[in-house]
Every structure is written in C-alpha cells, then in structure tokens.
C-alpha cells in the first residue's frame, strides 16, 4: 500500500516533468541540440589531436569524444531537471506537490525518473548521429550496457545534486550554483586527450577528479577494453549516494521553509 503510494507520487511527478519537457521547445531543443553540437565541434574539429604522439585510442577520436559528450549530456540533463525543480518552487507548484504527497521523498524519485527518461531520449539521438557520422564501436552489448548504466548513474547523481540545490534556494537564480560545479568537474578531466597526455596542474587535478575514472571506464567500454570499471562505478554510486542525502536534506529545508 505504502509502496504503491510512493510509486504513484513518483510517477505523477515524472509524468508532469516529462510532459513539460516534450511539449516545450525551450526545454526540449537545448537538451537535444547541445550534446549534438558539442559532439560535432569536438569530434569534428579536434580529430587531428588523435595524431599527436602518445595518443593511443584505436577505436578513433569520434568514439573518444562520444563518451565525453554522453557523460556530459547525462550530467547536464540532471542539472536541467534541477532548473525545473527550482521553477516549480518559484511558481508554487512544488508546494502543491508537497501538500498532496504522503511520501515527499517520492517527489525527488519522480524528478530523477523524469531526468532518466529525458536522458534516454537524448542519448538515442546522440547514438544515431554518432553512428551516422561513422563512429566505431569495438565494445560488445555488455560493454555498451555498462556504458549506459554508468551514464545513468551520472545522470541520477547530477539530478540529486541540482535538486538538492534547487530545494534549498527555491529559485531559478540558483541556476549557476547548480551548473558551474558540474561544468568545472567535467572540464577538469581528460576531455580532449587521455590522462597521460595531460601535464602540469590540469594533470594533477584530473588525476584526483572522479570524472576521470568515469571517462576512462566509459572509453574502455566503447573500445571493448574495459578499464577502471570498479573504480568508476564506486565513484558514480558514491556520488549518487552522497547527493541523495544532499537532496533529502534539501527537501527537509524546503519543508521547514513552508514551500
């Protein structure tokens, strides 16, 4: 009974968020265009980098960049969902959710479900464009499942991070606070070349950045040579767990504020 109510609330929140996403071009278009654009700009414009001495990724630069763009779209899909949560608080809609939901954590679950659905929609298009552009995939079905699972965990972690921020500030003006840390973490990793080809301060930061393990594992999956899998999943799940606590505390803060 209790579980049924939880899933009813989560599905209702998710349905509304997905409906808004699919019916409002202002939400839909950037979610699709940005990953495709970054993929085009990085894979197309920088492919010569793969000829640099020491660059060793036989599957090709398109696949190398595809993994970054996939994980980036996973993370930003979560951030955009956080924008939606903040908008719901601003408009007062979240207050109605809070009044009607017997299990308020189900609201967070609903937003996370919506973020995953959005991400799957974007990734389908991204995969199609990448394959049309001639991307090589050397990994098998299990490897690709691992890649998608990893991206899904990143998406959930980012949604919980941005959601926690949105529920604390309850205004879309907190958008930069949701977005900038994600942007920093993603770009302070081996975006353009493998970690070994980075040097100086960016190498030092990338070495300790959890996004590096996620990228390395993702690139390993697509090339059929999985590496750092346990580390990547541990990092991803660890972030998701930490941000779920962050999001629940954010929800409590919104409850205390009477939103």
């Amino acid at each position: 009974m209790s579980r049924a109510r939880y899933s009813t609330v989560a599905r209702a929140v998710a349905w509304r968020t997905i409906h808004n996403f699919l019916h409002n071009p202002a939400f839909l278009v950037p979610s699709i265009i940005f990953p495709l654009f970054f993929f085009t700009a990085f894979a197309g414009g920088l492919s010569a980098i793969s000829r640099a001495p020491g660059f060793d990724f036989p599957t090709g630069y398109t696949a190398f960049q595809f993994v970054f763009v996939l994980l980036q779209s996973a993370a930003f899909g979560g951030v955009f969902t956080g924008f939606g949560i903040a908008r719901d608080f601003e408009s007062g809609f979240a207050r109605r959710f809070m009044i009607t939901a017997p299990h308020r954590t189900a609201i967070i679950g609903g937003y996370a479900l919506a973020a995953m659905t959005r991400a799957l929609f974007t990734w389908t298009l991204l995969f199609a464009v990448a394959l049309i552009a001639g991307m090589n995939v050397d990994g098998n079905g299990v490897d690709l499942f691992g890649l998608i699972l990893l991206a899904m965990i990143v998406n959930i972690a980012a949604t919980l991070w941005a959601g926690g921020m949105a529920m604390r500030f309850r205004t879309i003006q907190a958008g930069p606070l949701m977005q900038i840390p994600v942007f920093l973490v993603l770009f302070l990793s081996p975006v353009y070349v493998p970690l070994d080809l980075l040097s100086g301060w960016i190498h030092a930061l990338a070495t300790v950045n959890p996004a590096t393990a996620l990228l390395d594992a993702g690139r390993g999956f697509i090339s059929g040579d999985p590496v750092k899998v346990a580390l990547a999943f541990a990092a991803g799940l660890g972030l998701a767990l930490a941000f779920s606590l962050w999001a629940v505390r954010g929800l409590r803060s919104a409850e205390a504020a009477g939103s």
Partner: protein, 260 residues
C-alpha cells in the same frame, strides 16, 4: 563655447550605461572568469596539439589566448542587449522616446558600457596571458593593436545585442542568443589552425565562418608577428559586423519607436 546637443546626449547616456555596467558584478564577473577558465582548461588539455606537425607554436597557451577576446566580444551581445531589453521592459525607452533624443545618440550611448567592459576584459586577458607565460610576437605595439581589434569586435557584437533587444523587447530572448553565438565560436579555427583540421566539412565551415578570421587576427599578433592579411581580414570583418549591427539596430529602433 557650448557643446553640441548630440554630444551632450551621447555623454549622458554613455555615463548611465557605464555606471550601470560597472554596478553589475553579474555582468562583469562571468565575462572575465568564464573565458579565463576555458583558456586554462584548453591550454592544459590541448597542449598535446603543439606536437602535431605544422602547428605554428610550441605554446598552446599563446595559441589559445586569442579565444578569450572573441568570447569577451560575444558577452557584449548579452550585456548590451539585456540592458536595453530591461529599458524596454521597464518603459524607460518609451520615456526617452518623448525627449528630443536622437537615435544615433541613444545607440552610441548604450554601447559605452560594453566598450568600457571590453577594455577591462582585454586588459585582464592580456595580463593573465602575460603572467601565465604567453608569447607576444608583435611586441608592445601588437598588444595595442589587439586591444583596438578587441574593441571593434565588442562594438560590432554589442550592436547586434542592441538589435536583438530592439527586435524582441525581451531580456530572455537576448539571453537565448548566447548559445547561438557560441556555435559560431566552436565551429571556427578556435582550437586548431584551419590547415590542421582534418575533418573536411568542419574545415569548410571554419573557412566560411567569419569568427575564424576574428580569432586569427588576434592570434597572428601573438604567434606570428605582423601579418597584414590576417589583420586586414580581422579588422575588416569586425568593422563589417559593427556597420551591419549598427544599421540593423538603427532600423529596429525606428520601427520600435513607431510601434510605441
């Protein structure tokens, strides 16, 4: 001897525009921090590109230092446009329309804020580049030319921001232009010289993309020294953007005041 009314009008509006810009950290900070952050990330992440045969310099930082100037100019679209859109939304432009203010005075004055910010950006980017060890092949005179080119670019893109604000009357719509302009930046010779871009269609787009020539104009002074062709193309395109932007903004202003 009294000043001409046009100069007085431009001066008053310019003063308001400059003060308004300087009082908004939300405009200044991102337009300085974001380009410097991308410079740091790209110069670290793409250092391996200098090992490619034919790469024009051993310092990717020097190569990439041209990009913040272009990004700074792109920020002027948003800053100039958003300020004017706010004037439209709050009805300030309607009140100005009741005065004998000339259209040219209004547009020129409104660009003063972004020009001052453009100067601040150029100075900051040059200082950061110098402190980080970038090369300046054309020396001190080259630095002055970089500042001049950067200001013409800021003027041109700021005028486009005014045009967008006058056409739409909405700050949100002006903000929505930001990603569009970033598409132009990313599909240019921003990260690699055009002759080293190996994807044919991308190289073709970068060749037709005017942003490539603006970046290459600044870059030539940092990497090559004095390259007349790169500078002529850079200044020519920046001036063309400014003329087209100001003309479009003037026409849009006339049409908005008629509607009002």
């Amino acid at each position: 001897m009294s000043r001409s009314p046009l100069l007085i009008q431009v001066g008053q509006l310019a003063r308001r525009s400059v003060l308004r810009t300087l009082r908004q950290p939300g405009q200044i900070v991102p337009s300085l921090v974001f380009p410097i952050f991308l410079l740091a990330v790209n110069s670290g992440g793409l250092k391996a590109a200098t090992n490619l045969p034919g790469f024009p310099t051993h310092s990717y930082l020097t190569f990439a230092l041209a990009i913040p100037f272009m990004q700074g100019a792109l920020f002027s679209v948003m800053n100039a446009g958003t300020d004017l859109a706010r004037d439209i939304e709050t009805g300030f432009l309607n009140r100005l329309a009741l005065t004998p203010l000339r259209g040219t005075a209004l547009l020129t004055g409104l660009l003063a804020g972004v020009m001052v910010l453009g100067l601040l950006q150029a100075g900051t980017f040059l200082l950061v580049g110098w402190a980080a060890g970038a090369g300046f092949a054309a020396g001190v005179p080259g630095v002055l030319v970089i500042v001049a080119l950067s200001l013409v670019m800021t003027l041109g893109f700021g005028a486009i921001g005014l045009f967008a604000a006058l056409r739409t009357g909405s700050g949100e719509a002006v903000q929505g232009l930001f990603p569009v302009f970033f598409v132009f930046l990313f599909l240019s010779s921003m990260s690699l010289p055009r002759n080293l871009i190996q994807t044919d269609w991308f190289r073709e787009i970068a060749t037709y993309n005017p942003v490539s020539y603006l970046v290459e104009g600044v870059r030539s002074l940092l990497v090559t020294g004095w390259d007349g062709e790169a500078l002529a193309l850079g200044f020519g395109i920046a001036a063309a953007v400014a003329v087209v932007g100001m003309t479009a903004a003037s026409v849009a202003l006339r049409s908005r005041l008629v509607r009002t």
